[in-house]
């Protein structure tokens, strides 16, 4: 069994990684850079860093499609200890957009506790600012990001304050789309 490395200096590496993710979440559509790290294929370095920073034994994780392989399962077991679960029980999910499946299969949270919804880490071939216009908290005037399925994400945002939050990852890059972002300038 070949286990790729985690953080070299966990407290400081996780702190720096969190600030980058926080910057992304506070500025929807902003494409940010994370440091390179060895990750089990096909997991991107950015997704691996998000997992190492936020996921542990208390946060059930769903691995979707090609990401549900032996190498990633072993890495999760060794570095995170997160229980691997079906979509409806997930606090976090990792996979390509198509493999992640219908958004309705993930916990959307209740109006009483809207924070108890899943965060989806969506692996992308590339991140691009050439996309639909986005507005809302964190966006000064207008931002834009190429999105995999505009209608599904608009429906998610329409549930606010309920709904899922998204971290799009590609290589060592990441961009966030919280549920609070209005999609398509509507």
């Amino acid at each position: 069994m070949q286990l790729t490395t985690g953080f070299a200096n966990p407290p400081v590496d996780a702190a720096r990684a969190f600030r980058v993710v926080l910057d992304a979440m506070a500025h929807p559509a902003r494409i940010v850079d994370l440091p390179p790290i060895e990750a089990p294929a096909p997991c991107s370095p950015a997704a691996a860093i998000v997992l190492l920073t936020l996921v542990d034994a208390t946060t059930p994780l769903h691995l979707a499609g090609a990401h549900d392989n032996d190498a990633i399962r072993d890495w999760v077991r060794f570095h995170l200890g997160a229980p691997l679960v079906a979509p409806q029980d997930a606090a976090f999910a990792l996979g390509d957009w198509d493999a992640l499946g219908p958004l309705a299969s993930y916990p959307q949270a209740s109006a009483d506790y809207p924070d108890r919804s899943a965060t989806l880490i969506v692996e992308c071939a590339a991140l691009s600012s050439d996309g639909v216009p986005l507005t809302g908290p964190g966006v000064q005037t207008e931002a834009s990001l190429a999105l995999p399925d505009i209608a599904a994400l608009q429906a998610n945002a329409a549930q606010f304050p309920r709904g899922l939050d998204f971290l799009f990852t590609s290589g060592a890059q990441l961009a966030a789309l919280p549920r609070s972002t209005q999609i398509g300038g509507a």
Partner: protein, 282 residues
Amino acid sequence: MTDYNFAYLDEATKRMLRRAILKAVAIPGYQVPFSSREMPMPYGWGTGGVQVTAACLVPEDTLKVIDQGADDTTNAVSIRKFFARVAGVATTEATAQASVIQTRHRIPETPLTEGQILVFQVPIPEPLRFLEPRETETRTMHALEDYGLMQVRLYEDIAKHGEIARAYAYPVRVEGRYIMDPSPIPKFDNPKLDNSPALQLFGAGRECRIYALPPYTHVKSLDFEDYPFTASKAAGQVCAICGAEDSYLDEVITDDAGGRMFVCSDTDYCATRVAAQAEDAA
């Protein structure tokens, strides 16, 4: 290395806090519950703010800590020293130099900028608590956006006092959705919450709540069409030290005979203005 983990808290605790902070940012104005930890200081010293700061700091940060606007109170000095020791961060009193600012009861006068994080210490995070003591009830009111009782109570204030009689912790509406307690800042500071380029995080230690205002978030102080919100302070007063007309002033007793004067509550703002005046005069 020291005896402490980086930023004092263990990694599992910081992950929990970081997840709560991200959800708070995704749902502006909503109070995310978290499991508060014991900190090496009493609750009145802002343990909620301290935990949020600990979850956010990186070694490259420059930290400023203020207590009612002042950098030099016992509380501010001890929190600043704590993080210098456990996180190895640089510290400053200059608002413009700080990347993270932890505050009790003020927003600095110097406008905040993109990339800065302002962490508020919050004693009572629930703005509806004075109307309804039961947590299950206030939670339902937020869920249903049922804020009629709040409107009625504020209107009663106007009927009785001719204005909304709240000088501190004046409630706000975030992006037209959640009613939020901005912590006991003077209402003079409320306009600074709106559309700020900085990220604003709120931590309540005893009540175990974290909430957030992302940058460029619409924050409106509650008011009525016929009684619009005013942020005004005592009219006509200027700072006795720097002459500022635009800053929030504290009244201080100057001698045993009851002499008094008004000075800037924001000590960095006041000192910066005095230094600039000295330079102009030279």
